[in-house]
Point group: C2
């Protein structure tokens, strides 16, 4: 399981628009082959702070996500909402193990 | 869905012991009522860096985790392995929605 935590801070006032655009990305992403998680989190302490928790079975599936229409639409939709560049942090998923 | 991202850095050399203790915690935690995720991640950039991604259906289920034998055993086992105090960051899970 290959995971990226994407840390996002949006311009105050753009939260609802970001959530709506990200809901659409979530709904399509979880149907991609090889997608294991696409959870959208909002900071409990900062209403403008979000994390996308994206897990794929392998590197090829993660890379394929970046080529999908829904990812590209999301990328363009949220570009003007970013208060700062978003930051993707890569992890190797240890547990659950692949296939479990 | 209530989420905590627990950021951990272990003392170099203690990684394998931490992974083994955390595997036991993972296996028991995913069987708790109300547990939705208990993913164990290792930083792709820092072999001593880990994140526990813990998601529960509600606050009561999250609190109950801290009372389980497996949590308490993990807490005691890993205490001497910590290179710095671990840091739990709380989030509200927006998607997937509860029940989906």
């Amino acid at each position: 399981m290959q995971v990226t935590l994407v840390h996002v801070r949006v311009v105050p006032g753009q939260e609802d628009a970001f959530i709506e655009a990200t809901r659409r990305n979530h709904e399509a992403s979880v149907r991609e082959p090889g997608n294991l998680r696409f959870d959208v989190l909002r900071s409990a302490d900062d209403p403008s702070g979000f994390v996308l928790y994206e897990a794929y079975a392998d590197d090829a599936a993660a890379k394929a996500h970046k080529q999908t229409d829904h990812y590209l639409a999301w990328r363009d939709a949220v570009a003007p909402m970013m208060a700062e560049p978003r930051r993707g942090v890569p992890y190797d998923g240890l547990f659950p193990r692949a296939g479990s």
